[in-house]
Every structure is written in structure tokens, then in C-alpha cells.
């Protein structure tokens, strides 16, 4: 009798647990929603400051899918027959690949009037995609650990930073900045030439290993570690990721090292054959317009691409951030990722 009662209890417990297991909270976008892909690191400020304005203006609901640009690219490839995303925010080098593979729908000034009002250099391949902001990248640091900030990329290699440095993986586009800075430190060449000497960069990176706490592919998790003080330095960080956390009161800062900073224009594109085409055009137009870009400048510390956007008083950004040869990067990135894994693994 005791055994049978126990079995019943056991079965009840198991059934309750199975019910919980069988009902995960799967959120699905509804028909009228606009699914927008983008970087996980931008999710916070986009959802807080940007999407609500667009949702109110256009009467739509934005469903944001935050991950890495290369993962978004893979999703676009996989969903090519029936795309789930309508708009994607990605880095220029990944946009280039997506365009080459025929995954993007060309933007037209008729449907996206602000396309003709942004800087001409921000429009690629006659409307394949457009840049809506120009973040710059330097070294993020914990202000409690390093109140004076960081003067040079060489700080990453200092013995005092042992076990306190986070670097982005080369799978993330911002991982390139550490490689180029390492090559510059190893060879003394300016970024423009150092970017072509990856071997020197990897040699220098091998010496960084004792200082590395972790190599991240998930930026928000790494940002969390920097803010908690588990790490002191995080290389290759964008103004649009770090300075917004500074403004929110987090104990982090972003240094523009003496060797220079890096630029990576952020692009917006329309997915070919994606759902809600008209809403996608309107969403992209809003991103290229002065109202949203003014919000982005103020909230995420980036330069606008629309000259009509207003800069907040005292806005400062490093002069002339370095933009690499993306075609060279795209040709070599797969081999670099393998070499990176071998050095850091």
C-alpha cells in the first residue's frame, strides 16, 4: 500500500514536471508585427528609446531578434524561401556578403524618401543597404578599477591586467579591432598597413593569452562582467554599446587610445521577399530620418548619417576613426577565425 501511494505521488510529481517541460514560453511574431534582426548588444537602447517611437509613429509592433551579424546572415540564408525577418541591422562587411548572395531587396527613394537625404557615402550599391549611424570603437574599462581610463592598447598586455581582460571573438566583427591593434603594436605600422599583417597580429595576441579572462561571442554577458568588476578591460568596444551604459550610471567608460580608434558604420537593409514590405520600408525610412538619428546620437553616442540630425550640446567623438579594408577582411576572415581559435584555445 505504501509502495502504491508512493508511486502515485511520484507519478503526480512527474506529470506536473512534464507539464511544465512541455509548455515553454514560445513567443511568435503575429502577422502585423515587423521582425527586425540586429546585434544583441544594441537591444537595450533600441527597445528603450528607438522602437517605441517608431511603433507609435507607424502603428506597428517591432519584434527584435538580437544576435550576431553572422548569425543573422545565416538565418537569412536558411529562411531564403520564406523569410521571417523583414529588416536587418548589420555591420557593413556582413551586409556585403548578404548583398552578394542576393538576400537583400534594394531600397528605393520612392519608398524610402530619406535615402536621398543621408550622406551619399552611407548608401551602398545604389540602395542595397544604407548606414544609419557611425559608432566608433576603443577600449572599455571598469571605472572603479581604472579611474584614469586607458591611454594605449598596450594596457591590455600589461602584467597588472592578468586575468582581467575580455576580448571579443573574431566571430564578432568587433574582434577585428584587437587583431589590428595587436599588429600595429607588434610592427609599429599605422593601422592602414598593419591591417594587412595578420601574422604579426596573431603573434602579439598569443602574448595576450595570460591576461584574457574570456573571449566572448555574447556581448551583453561580457558587458555584465565588466560592470561587475570581474573584468577591468574589454577591447574593441563600440560607443553605441559602452557609453550608453556609462550614461545609465554603470561603472564603465570608453577610452580612445592614443594609437587611434576604429569605425564601423552600422547598416540597415530590407530582406528580399520578407514579410510586411511596406512597413519595412517605413521602418527603414524612419531609421534614416533626422528624428530617430537624433535619438541615436544622443542615446548611443554615434555620429549620424543624416545631416539634418541634431547633435546634443557638448557631443564629442574621436576624429577620423579607422575603417578597415572590408573586402580583405571578408576574404581572410574564415582562416583568421581558425587561427584565432588555435591561439586562444
Amino acid at each position: 500500500m505504501t509502495a502504491s501511494t508512493t508511486r502515485r505521488h511520484l507519478l503526480t510529481s512527474a506529470a506536473a514536471s512534464a507539464a511544465l517541460l512541455g509548455c515553454p514560453a514560445i513567443l511568435r511574431a503575429e502577422g502585423g508585427d515587423l521582425v527586425v534582426g540586429g546585434a544583441a548588444g544594441m537591444a537595450g537602447y533600441m527597445k528603450q528609446f528607438v522602437f517605441p517611437v517608431i511603433e507609435q509613429k507607424l502603428g506597428i509592433r517591432v519584434v527584435f531578434d538580437g544576435t550576431r551579424s553572422l548569425v543573422n546572415l545565416e538565418k537569412m540564408r536558411a529562411d531564403r524561401a520564406a523569410p521571417r525577418m523583414s529588416v536587418v541591422l548589420m555591420d557593413d562587411p556582413v551586409m556585403q556578403i548578404a548583398w552578394d548572395e542576393g538576400l537583400l531587396a534594394k531600397l528605393s527613394p520612392q519608398m524610402v524618401p530619406n535615402l536621398g537625404r543621408i550622406r551619399p557615402a552611407a548608401v551602398h550599391f545604389d540602395g542595397a543597404w544604407a548606414n544609419y549611424q557611425l559608432p566608433w570603437a576603443g577600449i572599455a574599462y571598469n571605472t572603479k578599477a581604472l579611474p584614469q581610463g586607458v591611454a594605449s592598447y598596450a594596457a591590455l598586455w600589461q602584467p597588472a591586467a592578468k586575468g582581467k581582460v575580455i576580448v571579443p571573438s573574431l566571430q564578432n566583427t568587433e574582434g577585428l579591432w584587437t587583431l589590428i591593434a595587436a599588429s600595429h603594436l607588434e610592427t609599429g605600422k599605422p593601422f592602414q598597413d598593419a591591417q594587412y599583417d595578420a601574422a604579426a597580429g596573431f603573434k602579439k595576441l598569443a602574448a595576450l593569452k595570460p591576461n584574457v579572462l574570456t573571449v566572448y561571442t555574447n556581448q551583453p554577458q561580457a558587458e555584465n562582467l565588466l560592470e561587475s568588476g570581474e573584468a577591468s578591460l574589454m577591447s574593441g568596444q563600440f560607443s553605441s554599446y559602452t557609453l550608453i551604459r556609462t550614461a545609465a550610471g554603470a561603472p564603465v567608460g570608453l577610452s580612445a587610445p592614443q594609437e587611434g580608434t576604429f569605425a564601423m558604420p552600422s547598416g540597415i537593409c530590407k530582406v528580399k521577399d520578407g514579410p510586411n514590405g511596406a512597413a519595412a520600408d517605413a521602418f527603414i525610412d524612419a531609421f534614416l530620418g533626422p528624428a530617430i538619428q537624433s535619438i541615436l546620437v544622443e542615446k548611443s553616442f554615434v555620429l549620424p548619417t543624416n545631416p539634418a540630425a541634431t547633435l546634443p550640446p557638448g557631443f564629442a567623438a574621436p576624429a577620423d576613426p579607422f575603417a578597415p579594408d572590408w573586402a580583405f577582411v571578408n576574404r581572410n576572415r574564415a582562416a583568421w577565425i581558425q587561427q584565432w581559435n588555435q591561439i586562444m584555445g
Binding site: 508512493t6 505521488h9 566571430q171 574570456t214 566572448y216 576572415r333 584555445g345
Partner: protein, 272 residues
């Protein structure tokens, strides 16, 4: 007597398994050994050229083996204790063991990244207990990874052991004692062999889960800790090299089958 009519009931499951398990597996195996010139093992040669891939395989096996051993060391006595509980207390204990399984592994792994920090609960506990004078680095270390992964996979070791202990006739150890067997002798010669099927099942489950773990090592160790599952993801997602991914997947499958087969064999021999 055979009832042929009931055989049809298994067809949906067979179709499902063939379509979503056997076919992709066959495609994976074919993809790993098929080149532009036909059948070839060149992709395997490329994969194992140099020491990097061997290091990845060794790290993957080490993680799975340590996870299994630690889970067994913790799960065997815990499974026994669970089986010896009675009534509501046992139901509560089983529910407490099962309920965490309803939580996403991502959430649990993220939770461990907070707990394992220098100012996290684990470090505070170690200092409060006087085991360490200052915070020790646990996050992004193999120790931290093992703490997290064993916690997450422990129920899969405990439940089969619990089930096997419940099957043991309580009179058997008593009979062994009556015949002069000491407690250790009774355990080693009577109880342990009877629980070996549960141990085998638990080890198989935990080893299979640990060798294929992707989320937990990625979150607790970062991208620098490359295992076969992370190699597969990198090959497909970033390198655009599906053949490399297929080779890594086939190696992972072969290792799993080998170790699981050996585990089942020894469990069956021990129980015989």
C-alpha cells in the same frame, strides 16, 4: 499470441525517427566523406592534421568524463537517499529534482555566471566557511565549468540510480547479513551489482549530454574553450565549411557511441 494489427501503431514513430533522425544522420555521414571527386577521407585528414583537433577531442572527452564521474560520485548516494525516503517527503524530493529540468539550460548557465563571480554566492560561501581568505577565480575556469555542468546534469544521474535502488528487494541485504556478510561485503556483492543497470543508464545519459554540451561551456568558459560541439557550430555558422562540421559531428557521434557502448557492456557484465 501475435497481434499483427498493433504493429501499425509503431509506424508513425518509425517514420518520425527515420525522417528527422536517421536521414539527417545519414546525410551528415555522407557529407563528411564525399568530395567533388567522390568518396574520400580527405576531410578527416585535414581535420586531424596538426595538434589542434586532437586537443579539442581530448578536451571534449575530458569534460564529459569528469562530468560523469563527479555526477556519479554525488548522484549515487543521493539516489540511494531518495529511494529510502517515504511518502510526501519522497514526492517533494523527486519534484525538487525534476522541477529544475523545466528551466532552460541557458537560464541555468547564466545563473551560474553570476554565482561564480568573485563577489558571487559561491565565493562568499567559501570565504564565510574559512576555506579561502580572498575571492578565488571560478568563472571561466574548468572548476567553475564542472560545478555548473554537474549541477545541471545531476538529475539525469540520480533518477536512474533511484529507480534501480527502488527495485531492490530489501530482504536481500538482510539475507546476506544473516549469512554472515559484513556491511561492506553486502554492499559490494549484493547491493552494488543490483544498482549497476541504474549506474550504467545514468552514466550513459550524463556522458551523452556532457559530450554534446554547447550552451554551458560557451557561457561558463567563453569562446576560448573549444570542444567538438563548438567546433561544429563554428564550422557551419562562421567558416561556411559544412564538411568540417560534418567531420566534427561524425567524430562526436563515434566517441559517444563508443563510450556509451562500453558503459552499457560493463553495466550488463557487472549486473550478470
Amino acid at each position: 499470441m501475435r497481434r499483427p494489427g498493433l504493429v501499425w501503431l509503431v509506424l508513425p514513430a518509425l517514420f518520425y525517427g527515420a525522417l528527422l533522425f536517421a536521414l539527417p544522420l545519414a546525410l551528415l555521414l555522407i557529407g563528411s566523406a564525399r568530395g567533388p571527386q567522390g568518396w574520400t577521407l580527405a576531410a578527416y585528414s585535414r581535420f586531424f592534421a596538426g595538434s589542434y583537433a586532437w586537443g579539442v577531442v581530448a578536451r571534449t572527452l575530458r569534460l564529459a568524463a569528469l562530468t560523469t564521474l563527479l555526477s556519479l560520485a554525488l548522484g549515487y548516494p543521493a539516489g540511494f537517499a531518495l529511494a529510502r525516503l517515504r511518502g510526501r517527503l519522497q514526492s517533494l524530493a523527486v519534484a525538487a529534482l525534476l522541477l529544475p529540468l523545466s528551466l532552460s539550460v541557458i537560464v541555468k548557465a547564466f545563473g551560474w555566471t553570476v554565482l561564480l563571480r568573485r563577489d558571487g554566492v559561491v565565493n562568499l560561501g567559501l570565504q564565510a566557511a574559512g576555506l579561502t581568505g580572498a575571492p578565488v577565480r571560478l568563472l571561466f575556469t574548468e572548476t567553475g565549468l564542472l560545478i555548473g555542468i554537474v549541477n545541471i546534469f545531476l538529475p539525469f544521474m540520480m533518477l536512474p540510480i533511484y529507480a534501480s535502488v527502488r527495485q531492490i528487494d530489501r530482504l536481500l541485504p538482510e539475507a546476506a547479513a544473516t549469512l554472515g556478510g559484513g556491511p561492506l561485503h553486502c554492499f559490494l556483492r549484493v547491493v552494488l551489482p543490483l544498482t549497476l543497470p541504474g549506474v550504467g543508464a545514468g552514466c550513459t545519459l550524463v556522458f551523452s549530454l556532457a559530450i554534446a554540451a554547447y550552451v554551458i561551456p560557451t557561457l561558463l568558459m567563453g569562446d576560448a574553450y573549444q570542444t567538438l560541439p563548438t567546433t561544429i557550430a563554428t564550422a557551419f555558422l562562421y567558416l561556411q565549411d559544412p564538411q568540417r562540421g560534418a567531420v566534427a559531428g561524425t567524430v562526436l557521434l563515434a566517441l559517444s557511441l563508443l563510450v556509451v557502448g562500453m558503459s552499457a557492456h560493463f553495466a550488463a557484465r557487472g549486473a550478470a
